[in-house]
Symmetry: C2
Amino acid sequence: MDNFIYETPTKVYFGKGEEERTGKLIKEAGATKVLLHYGGQSAKKSGLLDRIKGYLEAENIDYIELGGVVANPELKLVREGIALGIKEGVDFVLAVGGGSVLDSAKDIANGIANPDIDVWDFSLGKAVPAKTLKKGAVLTISAAGSEMSNSCVITNPDTKVKKGYSCTCNRMDFAIENPELTYSVSAYQTACGAVDIAMHTIERYFCKGEDTYLTDSIAEAIIRSAIKSGKDAVEHPDDYVARANMMWASSLAHNGLTQCGRSFLMAVHQLEHVISAHFPEVAHGAGLAALWCSWARYVYDANIPRFLQYAHNVWNVDIDFEHPEITINKAIDIQEEYYRSIGMPVSLTELGIKEADLEKLANGCSQNKTRVLDGYKKLGFEDMLNIYKMAL
Amino acid sequence: MDNFIYETPTKVYFGKGEEERTGKLIKEAGATKVLLHYGGQSAKKSGLLDRIKGYLEAENIDYIELGGVVANPELKLVREGIALGIKEGVDFVLAVGGGSVLDSAKDIANGIANPDIDVWDFSLGKAVPAKTLKKGAVLTISAAGSEMSNSCVITNPDTKVKKGYSCTCNRMDFAIENPELTYSVSAYQTACGAVDIAMHTIERYFCKGEDTYLTDSIAEAIIRSAIKSGKDAVEHPDDYVARANMMWASSLAHNGLTQCGRSFLMAVHQLEHVISAHFPEVAHGAGLAALWCSWARYVYDANIPRFLQYAHNVWNVDIDFEHPEITINKAIDIQEEYYRSIGMPVSLTELGIKEADLEKLANGCSQNKTRVLDGYKKLGFEDMLNIYKMAL
């Protein structure tokens, strides 16, 4: 078990009606001017946004609004939010939405607090925010885990680069998680969320690391729960139990709990980020579903005992020790079938990606053949291209 | 799933050599005068205490010392620490030791920060600390989980009352967890720790609550890991993997993770606290081991499906749906056998407690027949007495 630092400072208020606390929590945080950040129409149409404004007004909290965050949130709106926030003297950022809104809010908070640094330098790894603004989230989609994570992922459409960065400043001060607010999420987006949640932990599970049986066992618990709750929520959108277990899995899958004592490199996320940077209409979860099984078939032999443990403890496949590859492939097939059953793609073709696109993707992921992903199995440009080809 | 608040602000530095950070962390916290709080001889003899002092001195941090914390930490020393801390202008409390030292340190920090309130009123529930001092811990025993918990348990030997209280102020700012520091813990104390760790989560598992399958599954993972790592550490004191998984289980078992969405009442802990208040030589973990199986046999029929899930998922017992009580009793028997195998008592007699003592204990636990423990099954004075009798 490697040394590790565990830090999850975000205070979570979980359950029905918890969003009613929003105004009081921001008041307690001592904020004087809030940037209320959100996405498109859904928070408006559902009435949630008006309710949130009401909670702020009830506490006499001054706020300005910035909507319009899109899936795969873009640098341009982040820059706009930073300029607006500095001009208006914003000292708190409140995100109402899903992972894209939260990530955009994190980047804006970091940008406002560090006006002398170009915010894109955080994504590029050229700078680390030393301070940030206070910030909170009212979560409306279970998926990205941004509500408790230390990461934020921003896309620069001009350069087709989608990049995440991780730091303590990216932790929300509070996250409000009311599963009922996710009832209106479509079956497709719910399925994308289920894939993403499980994948945050599956990727950590397949990082390098030994002797972490407690972390492994917790990881398996979270993956199984994401699989079950995701499917239940797709089939029964108003099922509180499914929505609640899925929402809590979203937070735990990506807050650091499932990487304690292990190294950290999310290879399939890296392979996918290039896809959604080039094809912004591809939902992140769908991209992950389309890639993972091909990644797994390409790499599994790097650590057979690990994959057998996964096959057995997550997918309940009996282990055939004489033919471990049969066990492993069976588990991968079951996972593929699960993706199909919740309406997720299991190939890049289903996402409209063609063979002619693949070299561009592999070039992007390998940063023009300069980057090797040294995770479960080392992946250079050729490996990336092979995986994309297998996933066609 | 009930609404819940999840808050684990303690930053954990886990692994070999992490205690070397102590001075730097306290400096970063802006402390000017530290109260270095510890127990008896072991931290001195091992050289750890001198090393910690060295780390403080290397950062030019001023400190005073207060040793002498005993198992089941006592109010008298807490009062002494508060008086000393106020007199000396202490603004940081550093605990070096196990749960007793950490709990004593928490109470002292709360007492110094709230000089107008009698610190025992916090334990009695007559007051809640509104503020506290900054504090950190260098953990030397895996057991109590105090390093990440929001609780502290103090004993008043004059009144034979041992009482815990929970609040945000009881969270450590940081916890340093180096599993190697626990190599020297005796087999008996290691076994007591293993019992206590698992019990923190077992008790939460058997609180009221429905539809928390993610929390349940994480709880089962932690219980299983505590069982395995505890036994391995008893048998091989220098086994890093065992000590590390056990130490991390200690923190996760009691930091709130395993009660998310469920009610909270630790009945067996309440039954045990009276024992160690009256028989201070009884180690808390040993008292829990001596009681739990009797509690389980007395109460299991309150929720058969729950106990079957426990029997299967924790102790790997095949479920006999036609005779569920056979399955359940088999699991309890296996747990009892496990306790024996690690040298733990499975009866009060082994702890030197006699039938004549039991009424006094039941009176204590029921607070002279005024308190009912409304947990997995409602327990009044008569029930408590029955359980103590079964445990003889």
